[in-house]
């Protein structure tokens, strides 16, 4: 199965993969809307969004978060994301079966089922599962959020992060 592999020597730590990831997983696929107005509703009575877009970054709205994370230490940096392990410990750890493997072998999440227990986050050896605190499935439980990891951009032939990388530091290939 094709996965996204980081190439450490080429990564310049620009974090554009994170931007591309957020844009790809937004509704409008436009960076400005993805960051500012995703999850906001346009109020036609006052002809503006509620709340205002320039305050929206800190708001608790269901906005997309980046699924790849650039780890950096000085000149050393690389973009980390889900390894889609063959024997995925996150699937074994998931208690209500919201994580599953599809026929191609990628580890995916049924977002409606996830209750945000974060057991997958504890089980992942690579630390590539993050929580998106802005999306809540169980509204009664405080600080509940669903887990969040790379889904290899199902709508694209090549994931957005690979396409956008200026130094080709992400490879999308079939290696073992």
């Amino acid at each position: 199965m094709k996965k996204v592999y980081p190439i450490e020597e080429r990564c310049i730590g620009c974090h554009l993969c994170e931007v591309a990831c957020i844009v790809e997983h937004s509704k409008v696929k436009n960076p400005v809307s993805a960051y500012f107005t995703e999850g906001l509703t346009f109020n036609h009575e006052v002809s503006s969004y509620t709340p205002e877009p320039n305050q929206a970054l800190s708001d608790n709205r269901p906005k997309p978060l980046n699924r790849c994370i650039v780890e950096e230490n000085g000149a050393l940096c690389l973009s980390t994301n889900c390894r889609h392990c063959e024997e995925a410990s996150c699937i074994l750890a998931c208690k209500n079966g919201s994580l599953y493997k599809d026929e191609e072998g990628r580890v995916l999440l049924n977002e409606k089922k996830c209750v945000g227990c974060w057991m997958c986050l504890m089980a992942c050896e690579y630390g590539s599962i993050n929580r998106n605190v802005y999306i809540k499935n169980v509204s009664l439980i405080e600080n509940n959020a669903i887990q969040h990891h790379c889904d290899l951009c199902p709508e694209r032939e090549e994931p957005a992060c690979v396409m956008v990388c200026p130094t080709k530091a992400l490879a999308f290939d079939n290696r073992k």
């Binding site: 500012f36 200026p166 080709k168």
Partner: protein, 525 residues
């Protein structure tokens, strides 16, 4: 690393931040203004991370990215990398009252000199508004009386042999024309473009390796500059022209032998008559190994070669190198184009050089005083025309090839230079442009935002070897195609037929003396 991007704790005032970042330069007037569309800025901080000149910082309290415009050099890295294209770098219009005499270059330099007491350094090549003769020469084309050639259907010869040619061909067995006796070592290139001397230290290792790879792929050469040949580039030794400059960095008999040709650098077009200085902090382990100097020590190239004070001394060095390479490789001598260049070139050829490289005043540099870069030297077009004419008149043109360097911008300049008498050209700035250079003239600071003229670990990663190689190869391929097209329309099927063929050139908007110096006729005649 992330710490530097954010506002320093305890600093409240943006003026304080500015002063902290700029040190003592109170008078550094901004040249450019970074306009940021805050409605489009998504605070992804790509611009903050990419700016090596500390021009951009993020204020976490206000959630706004600010710019210190005085630090901006218009390298355009943030503009290009911004995912929403919300940044626009503009010329800072608000300078002084309009003054045709006191331009920014002069008063700006005075402020800098008053601040530091130092020579104002800069990079790249002469950017003053001198007349460009390349732009005032036009080429001929075949019409009814002679047919033009379609390079897509008929063979076109771009292969060029560079080096000394024999007076006559003599062979032991004339009838069977076998075993030609008097042949001198030549280097052959498939494209009449060679990558100009740029040393490892001035440019990043990745870029030099990219040039070497492209040269190997296209059957041409790259030049190591004066910085020695890195051990990792030994696989490209058949495509390397190795340079022996006044600092003699990295020179050994092994270095001379691991090459296609050897070059003695007397002068550089951007800074004729002065040496070079690579500051100690830039001499990293790799550079120190390649240059064969201690790590962290200043790499100083003296202004003259201390063993060359005459043509006779030059002859000694040329033959010393020829002995070292057992007369197997051509030896080239590179001089800056200066006044009376034809007599100097004639002396060089008589001293035994197989190749004469003429470097015009538009040639680039890693670092040079601005006044010298902008005001010393002569245009390559006139130097080339004069040298070719002089060598022809003296009957020694066959003894050396001429390579024109300094401000070759494209296939048009190459064709015109070859028609003026060059065998091949050096292209340096064009190769840098091919890998992303934006001509911001900050090469001397070693913090190139595009990873070209830097060896800082995080910055040089911005230009991977294979991307550099691919882009430089593409450039050469495109130029080769364009040269073939231009040869075809002139009815020539070989670059040899164009060399020194000034009948193909006509001058537009040039005075009589200029036409005479260039050796070309007025357009229309």
């Amino acid at each position: 690393m992330t710490q530097k991007f954010y506002k320093e704790p305890g600093v409240k005032d943006s003026l304080q931040i500015r002063r902290q970042r700029q040190g003592d330069y109170f008078h550094s007037h901004p040249e450019y203004k970074v306009e940021r569309d805050n409605n489009k800025c998504i605070r992804c901080l790509v611009c903050v991370r990419e700016c090596p000149y500390d021009c951009t910082y993020f204020d976490t309290d206000r959630n706004v990215i600010y710019n210190i415009d005085a630090n901006c050099v218009n390298c355009k890295r943030c503009e290009v990398m911004c995912p929403t294209q919300c940044i626009e770098i503009r010329d800072w219009g608000n300078k002084f009252r309009d003054n045709a005499y006191w331009d920014f270059k002069h008063w700006g330099s005075i402020y800098k000199q008053a601040d530091t007491g130092a020579v104002v350094l800069t990079g790249l090549g002469n950017d003053e508004d001198y007349k460009s003769y390349f732009d005032r020469m036009v080429l001929d084309a075949s019409q009814v009386t002679n047919p033009s050639i379609d390079p897509l259907r008929e063979p076109m010869e771009l292969r060029t042999y560079i080096g000394r040619k024999p007076e006559t061909l003599t062979s032991e067995d004339i009838r069977n024309s076998k075993k030609i006796k008097t042949l001198f070592p030549n280097i052959s290139t498939e494209v009449p473009v060679i990558f100009a001397p740029m040393s490892f230290g001035a440019i990043s290792f990745n870029f030099q390796k990219g040039l070497a790879t492209a040269a190997k792929k296209m059957g041409t050469f790259f030049n190591t500059g004066e910085g020695g040949l890195h051990p990792d580039l030994l696989e490209f030794k058949d495509h390397a022209i190795v340079q022996v400059a006044s600092g003699r960095f990295g020179v050994s008999s092994k270095y001379l032998k691991n090459s296609a040709a050897c070059e003695i650098k007397i002068g550089q077009g951007a800074k004729p008559g002065i040496g070079g200085h690579l500051p100690g902090e830039k001499v990293t382990y790799d550079i120190s190994q390649t240059r064969m100097i201690p790590e962290g020590s200043d790499a100083i190239s003296p202004a003259p070669q201390h063993d060359i004070y005459s043509i006779e001394d030059l002859r000694l060095l040329i033959y010393a190198i020829k002995e070292a390479v057992e007369y197997q490789k051509p030896v080239s001598v590179k001089i800056a184009a200066v006044h009376n260049v034809s007599a100097i070139a004639s002396g060089i050829v008589r001293a035994g050089a197989d190749i004469v490289v003429l470097d015009g005043f538009r040639g680039g540099t890693g670092a040079a005083p601005r006044i010298i870069r902008d005001h010393v030297g002569i245009p390559i077009e006139v130097a080339l025309a004069q040298v070719d004419e002089r060598l022809r008149k003296e009957g020694i043109r066959n003894q050396a090839s001429i390579i024109a360097a300094g401000g070759i911008r494209g296939a048009d300049d190459i064709v015109k230079a070859i028609a003026l008498g060059a065998d091949a050209v050096y292209a340096g700035t064009s190769a840098m442009l091919a890998v992303g250079c934006t001509l911001c003239q900050q090469c001397h600071r070693g913090k190139c935002a595009w990873g070209i003229t830097t060896n800082q670990a995080d910055l040089r990663k911005r230009l991977p070897v294979d991307i550099a190689a691919e882009r430089c190869t593409n450039l050469l391929m495109a130029w080769a195609r364009e040269i073939k097209e231009m040869l075809g329309l002139m009815g020539l099927n070989s670059i040899e037929s164009l060399r020194g063929n000034r009948l193909k050139l006509r001058g537009v908007d040039l005075s009589e003396i200029e036409l005479k110096t260039l050796g070309i006729a007025q357009a229309g005649i």
